[in-house]
């Protein structure tokens, strides 16, 4: 049982704007004329394409095989014909492209043969592998593969199901909890078992009373499994670290993961997807998306993964003064650069923006150090100090003041009376630091290569000199040996002396040479060899980069 709730520092209370869409039940979005299913559906992993143009696929059929430990499979979200493979824009701030399978639906929406998976009958690893073949990734934010997050089945005391949904406008999780509470809890039970948790908590912000009620009712069907906890409505309560803090009081240390503190967090959507995969044999091919904002018909739709945003938008009928579209919430979402971008497994909301709803920020004024940002920061940072350092491009100092603890939740920029886009400054500083680190890495590699070349040349010279000296000594020894055979017994000594002298000369030469393009002067060139040795141990850095 929950003894008490904890709180995190800061946070804000923006207008929730959930009423626009929260009363609208989840409806199935119609089949789009074309589906663009990106082969990159989970972090750091692009699936290997398994289909060729012209091929007919069924709903739920594998079209991409996940590669590497972080890979998850990709599936056709409806039945139809593969008409092409092409790069498509991703729903990501970078606007990068990724390879996608384009499918023309045949309108039948015909499933593959679905069979429930008895996760009790197989070893745990097999169950995890099954989830990865079902393409289950976190549907709350980053899309991290679920089978990885389930870990080794030990050491997790608390499993948290995240139903906080703290961003304004978004209601997909709210509707999911109201309408499919039993499925979520069934999924939670599976996750509970697979992760080896001792207790499971569901955190829901208290501005969703219907969702809380529905979940509590459903929880009676799972006696003793979960506690449904209403948490205070305060953005960003749905941030993983913040939610863990509120529910358990545990503060996940910097650079650590929840697992190290015996707690792991999954989104309600993920739990439901796990239920569908295990009990119905359905891979993750659709998700609930909220369409809202400056539209005539806001709503919540069950949308097939790969549905282009533009075809989806037609359902909501955006008003004419819409000037752009956001994916995600208004606090952390991104502007959609290209409306052909497909809905992915983490796309929770599309907001039509108008100048009236989201007015452009007033001009930036000087910071008056009022500290409102520091009072709002859920990471206990001093954003105005970070801003100062970022402006001055003093990225070292910014790092010292824990720039990388910024979760970019936007609370500071939200409250700033000077309208300073603080988060943008922090993003800039972070990218600056990454760029410098990359540069440093390449220059380090160049230096190591150069030093190794010098070292090798020196070594070759040394070896040559030693060889020559040995040869000379040998001939001299032969000569002296033939002239005075009595000296044969001591013939070794002059030879050795000659070799030693040659070696000393070579060493002297080596010491005299200094590496020219180095930041840190080396004592001697051979000193570089540990670096070289380590480089040799991992023979192809570049290859491994390319394949990951």
């Amino acid at each position: 049982m929950i003894a008490r709730l904890f709180s995190f520092h800061g946070g804000i209370k923006p207008d929730s704007h959930k009423n626009e869409s929260s009363s609208l039940p989840i409806a199935a979005a119609p089949l789009p004329p074309r589906l663009t299913i990106p082969l990159r559906q989970s972090v750091r992993s692009v699936a290997r394409c398994l289909v060729a143009p012209g091929q007919r696929v069924l709903k739920g059929e594998r079209i991409g095989a996940g590669e590497g430990p972080l890979g998850t499979d990709v599936h056709a979200s409806t039945s139809g014909t593969v008409v092409g493979l092409a790069p498509c824009a991703m729903a990501h701030a970078s606007g990068l492209n990724t390879l996608a399978v384009i499918i023309e639906p045949d309108g039948k929406d015909e499933w593959i043969e679905r069979r429930a998976f008895d996760h009790h009958a197989v070893p745990r690893e097999a169950a995890l592998r099954y989830l990865s073949t079902c393409g289950i990734v976190g549907m709350g934010g980053a899309g991290f593969p679920t089978h990885i997050k389930l870990g080794n089945g030990r050491g997790i005391e608390t499993l948290i199901i995240n139903g906080a949904e703290c961003e304004p406008w978004i209601t997909c999780d709210d509707r999911l909890m109201r309408e499919r509470a039993a499925e979520i809890l069934s999924g939670a039970a599976i996750l509970h078992e697979l992760i080896g948790a001792r207790r499971t908590l569901v955190g829901i912000e208290d501005n969703k009373p219907e969702a809380i009620r529905a979940m509590r009712e459903a929880a009676t069907g799972f006696p003793g499994l979960v506690d449904i906890v209403a948490i205070p409505t305060r953005y960003p309560a749905g941030g993983e670290k913040q939610l863990i803090r509120v529910l358990t009081g545990i503060e996940i240390a910097h650079g650590k993961l929840g697992t190290e503190f015996g707690v792991q967090c999954f989104n309600v959507g993920t739990a439901q997807a796990v239920h569908r995969a295990i009990h119905h044999g359905e891979p993750l091919v659709s998700r609930v998306v909220t369409l809202t904002g400056n539209v005539r018909h806001p709503g919540n739709y069950e949308v097939l993964v790969g549905t282009p945003v533009e075809t989806l938008l037609a359902l909501a009928a955006p008003k004419p003064d819409t000037d752009r579209y956001l994916m995600g919430g208004p606090m952390m979402g991104i502007t959609i650069a290209d409306l052909s971008v497909p809905i992915g497994k983490t796309s929770n909301c599309i907001i039509a923006a108008s100048p009236a709803l989201f007015p452009p920020p007033p001009p930036e004024l000087p910071c008056i150090r009022c500290g409102a940002c520091a009072r709002a920061c859920p990471a206990d940072l001093q954003p105005f100090e970070l801003y100062w350092f970022s402006r001055a491009k003093n990225v070292g100092k910014a790092q010292e003041y824990h720039l990388f603890d910024c979760i970019e939740c936007g609370s500071c920029a939200f409250v700033c009376p000077s309208h300073i886009p603080l988060v943008d400054y922090f993003r800039f500083s972070k990218s600056e630091i990454w760029a410098r680190e990359r540069e440093l890495k390449t220059s380090d590699q160049a230096r190591e290569r150069f030093e190794f070349r010098n070292y090798r040349q020196e070594r070759e010279k040394e070896e040559k000199a030693a060889k020559l000296a040995a040869k000379a000594a040998e001939t001299r020894a032969k000569l002296t040996g033939s002239a005075a055979p009595t000296d044969a017994a001591t013939g070794d000594d002059p030879k050795k002396a000659l070799i030693a002298a040659a070696l000393a000369r070579a060493k002297q030469q080596a010491a005299a040479i200094e590496p020219r393009n180095t930041d840190t002067p080396h004592a001697g060139v051979p000193g570089a060899s540990p670096g070289i040795a380590s480089r040799r141990e991992q023979p192809d850095l570049h290859d491994s980069d390319a394949t990951s």
């Binding site: 995600g328 940072l381 001093q382 000077s418």
Partner: protein
């Protein structure tokens, strides 16, 4: 391209400054009613001076003028200069004070948000060093009619000694230095004193307190600085008073006299030149209280807060650096 967050709280520097001006109104009202109605004229002179000076220097600096003028920060500075100056100063002293605050302290350091020192306090210190006699003439409550006040401010008629008196703080200090005097006897001798502080002036202290509470409620300021300042002033003066009640005035007298309440809520809390971390704010405000008390009781000036503020302004970078709060995930705490 505009990046997240796409929504903003309807807050602005202008609304913050407007709230500060509103919060000053109860104190100003008490000023007008109890001490010198001419303060309104001074506020007007100072406001105009501040806006003109701001506009001129922004032109020189080739910066946009409209946003800086409309943020009202110059008006706040002007008002604070007036409220810490004696009310019957000739107009040009007020003008000079405001010019120092706006031009030298604010803009020579780079404008709003950049000044390491509190502009109003630098103006006060500069003027009291430059014009010690003018800056020490405070009118006793209700003794001078408005016409005379106006003549003093605009005409510079200076037959002052007859009509001005020492402030409560000054009367107490000089009174205690005569042999055989005690706090009791000083309080009885002079008509300068009211119930707890200077006669009439104690109402101003109440007015500033009310304004301060308004700002706290509106979250314009945090509790740290006023509480630390008031508590420290009370504790330090309380220790001396308890040790020797005859020679040291009680805490309440110190809190209700001079600029204590104005400072606690409006001067010490200046975000630009003050400490910013929660612990730093406590240290900063407490330091001001200690130094101000020492100058009041043992120093040569009638009031010590201005010097105390500047001295603590100097320490702000160090205080802030040493009091950075622990960042989430760096405390290593488990419940």
């Amino acid at each position: 391209m505009i990046h997240s967050p796409y929504i903003r709280k309807p807050a602005s520097v202008q609304s913050v400054m407007l709230a500060v001006l509103l919060a000053l109104l109860p104190g100003v009202t008490a000023y007008v009613m109890q001490v010198a109605a001419v303060v309104v004229v001074n506020l007007l002179i100072a406001t105009v001076t501040a806006l003109v000076a701001e506009a001129l220097i922004l032109t020189l600096r080739k910066r946009p003028i409209a946003p800086a003028l409309s943020d009202l920060s110059a008006v706040v500075t002007a008002w604070l200069v007036v409220l810490c100056f004696p009310p019957i100063l000739p107009w040009w002293v007020t003008v000079l004070g405001v010019l120092i605050a706006i031009v030298a302290v604010k803009h020579l350091y780079g404008g709003l948000g950049q000044n390491p020192f509190n502009p109003a306090m630098v103006a006060y210190c500069a003027m009291i060093v430059a014009f010690p006699s003018l800056m020490s003439q405070w009118p006793p409550a209700g003794q001078i009619d408005f016409q005379t006040q106006l003549d003093l401010v605009l005409g510079g008629a200076r037959q002052l000694d007859a009509i001005t008196g020492a402030t409560a703080l000054d009367a107490m200090r000089t009174g205690l230095r005569t042999s055989g005097a005690s706090v009791e006897s000083v309080l009885q001798q002079s008509g300068t004193f009211g119930a707890v502080g200077g006669r009439g002036w104690e109402w101003l202290a109440l007015g500033y307190l009310a304004g301060g509470l308004f700002m706290l409620a509106r979250r314009i300021i945090t509790w740290h600085m006023p509480v630390a300042f008031i508590a420290t002033l009370a504790v330090v003066s309380g220790i001396f008073w308890l040790a020797e009640p005859a020679h040291f005035a009680p805490p309440l007298f110190h809190l209700a006299s001079g600029g204590a309440m104005l400072a606690a809520f409006f001067i010490v809390t200046d975000p630009v030149s003050g400490a910013t971390t929660p612990r730093g704010k406590l240290i900063f405000a407490a330091g001001i209280a200690v130094i101000a008390y020492l100058i009041r009781v043992f120093g040569a000036f009638p009031e010590g807060i201005a010097f105390a503020v500047l001295l603590m302004n100097l320490c702000v970078p160090l205080i802030d650096m040493k009091t950075q709060p622990a960042v989430f995930g760096h405390r290593g705490s488990r419940p």
